[in-house]
Symmetry: D2
Subunit: 247 residues, 4 copies
């Protein structure tokens, strides 16, 4: 049953535009957010890590890549509309089959997250270097392993409620912002056989993904979201299991 | 806060094809399932009831109709693909704004239900006149008002698990079928400000919607799903509420 | 199905000790918190409102009072241990039968709330006049009717996470505190046929229950928690419903 | 993060009365249900398995045993009232600290389960050798690993709805009974830092726990319920985290 991170096939998808066009972002993530996350997951024991980006053919998410991915991590912001519907449909189908999905920060507005949630996924925001403090509200949950009672981030973009998503099946973190807002920052869902984790922090102009506790949460979430060989599911027209079912 | 059914603006949408082309169905619902449901809701006290069908312009769901609908009831089966994406988007947007939605039986595969759920909504089925017994598993819930411990339907189409929907926020009914299957037959969800109730029974070749307890559940669900004047929601870029939010 | 507040039989239970022994509290609630709440509910349309206090015989909660109560409101703080186990068992039994229960502020540590939750109900606290802002995270919910996007309280005692309760079935409010904490401040549960709402604010040395929006939330919660005539429940040894159940 | 079953410290608690006084039960479980379960868990890879029974001093659950238990399995039926409140309080406290708890069959009426649930835990029952079919309704969940779409048990005692427990946080199995009933047979809860799994089958006069799929579910549940080293929790009076928290 157990998933060791070294056996989990991880694919990190990144839009990878800000880093190429905005020197301020490039200074923080010179080889892209995906590369920083890949290095962090490697340090956490990951041994099967790939990356993919928007401007690769099929955004790097050809069927063979997705079919051999256990957990997909998604960061996007400025070009959600450029992600092809065909690739979104493929990712969606893989999640229902059991592939884990970790959606980061501005990925709340990605096509794939909105398709899985069925809502607008809208929220309040402010680029103003608020202090953020993520409080753990599910302290026995594996995603919180190794953390303290809260994670503090010196400066982050603010996201505020109401966050228009379905009520999380498990709520892991609630963020406090110095500007006066709160946010449900760690939200677990299941869709079909797949597990989904939305994790709020990660504005591109700030060094959030270099933060060791952020890296720890993402590594924990990879292990939580990895597929388990649960029971099979079949659909369609079925004969009765009991003989005298009609009276 | 309370919603009296006489004040709720109800629209019943029906595909209305089987009734026109299949004499067996026409014998049961000569003026269409929508007309039978409208009469039942009128008997339950509804005074603001309209119907709409697939073959009307814009399927009868022009903006003005949806904008003045509190609760929309949906029955479809054979022509889900003929429902225009534009109308689906309009219904979806109204649900997020607070319009209630009651999805009946084969409506599980409608575009609007799948869009709101984010999953395949697939299931097992068998047209074989099973006996169905819907057990109440949330006995204090308003949707169960006036019922006994279970509802028995002499003959119904079987729907069996696994039903590929997100875990219901509240599960109201579980069906037992004589052929050996079970099904989560009454499922409550919220999406945005809207309430959604999926209710399983209602195969077109059987007189299910003439059943008084079915009618009672649907009338109860209309009252449960009616919008309440809850708190407003705003989205987008927001100034800080606290003065010294940056340090 | 609908519950008009004028028909709901409300009993407000208050420990009523601080008001009699602490002049600072008496200045704010000269006739007790229960009397202030009763007046507020009367202004909201309540016409069937009683109060009961700890020092009355059986704490004012004799069987006849509980049997004719639809919704019980509970405020206690300093004398939880003085509430008799017999009265707690009676309240517990009535909740399972369908009586609504609204637990306020320091009532989180009451015997009845801990018995219904099954957990320690522990939390962090600080008497330091923090500013509190309760954000609505379920904007279509009837408990939020008539509110804005948040409620602001100039000064309140802080309660902070982790709050050791079962995950709420519906989370309505999340509090932001100026001292840096967050709290799940409006939590809905069902136990048996009864509905339970925990609502955080209300420290005795501050005029919180004179706040109109607090009063509005409590009146809304009374209507939400009022029992509905749902399906009956029977328990124990039962004959089979199907003839040939053994093979 | 991952828990290998060989490292999990398992304690199996059994009332162990039927087996000693009823020859029919003794024929099926000659050394007690606990010994059968211990052997099954050993076959599944468990290497740290102890048993404890009612008639041992302190029911075999002295502080040192509980303090070194990761997952406790509980089977009781005829003597729930003989379990001392002190031992129940100790188990309760350990669950809130993170110890997993698996409650089997008639354990639904045990003191510890009722204390954790906060409800009556009542249900319908019939000793009549119904056929039971447990359908998986959460097919990606680790507790279902290695199972088919359902588990069939030739003969079992019937348990029927309404089952008076809080709505499960995750519902894993729904049982179909040949007599016409359904039951929520696999229910997951969290209380404090602990995970709880209620699993329905296991009447003492039938060989249910010799069934390989039953054994598989219990072994899976042990791994799911094992504590994870999540975030710490502290409670009580706390200084502010922000400097200027009062205005």
């Amino acid at each position: 049953m157990t998933s060791d991170i070294k056996d989990i096939r991880i694919t990190i998808w990144n839009e990878y535009r800000h880093e190429q066009h905005n020197p301020r972002v490039a200074a923080i993530y010179p080889e892209g957010i995906h590369t920083t996350l890949a290095a962090a997951l490697h340090k956490s024991g990951g041994r099967n890590i790939r990356t993919a980006t928007l401007d690769e053919p099929q955004h790097g998410l050809i069927p063979d890549v997705l079919d051999t991915t256990d957990v997909l991590i998604w960061w996007g912001h400025t070009a959600h509309q450029e992600v092809s519907d065909e690739v979104v449909a493929r990712v969606h189908s893989r999640v229902l089959e059991g592939m884990g999905l970790i959606v980061l920060h501005s990925g709340h507005f990605s096509k794939i997250f909105r398709k899985l949630m069925g809502t607008s996924c809208n929220l309040k925001w402010r680029e103003s270097n608020d202090r953020e403090r993520l409080w753990v509200v599910a302290p026995g949950h594996p995603i919180t392993e190794g953390l303290g009672e809260y994670i503090e981030i010196e400066h982050e973009e603010m996201y505020g409620e109401y966050f228009d998503v379905p009520p999380p099946e498990t709520l892991i973190f609630i963020s406090w912002f110095s500007g006066g807002e709160v946010f449900r920052s760690g939200c677990c869902y299941t869709r079909g056989r797949g597990k989904i984790f939305y994790f709020r922090p990660g504005h591109e102009t700030l060094p959030t993904y270099h933060h060791l506790e952020m890296q720890r949460v993402i590594a924990n979430a990879v292990q939580w979201a990895a597929p388990t060989a649960g029971a099979p599911s079949t659909f369609g027209n079925m004969p009765a299991l009991e003989r005298s079912s009609e009276r």
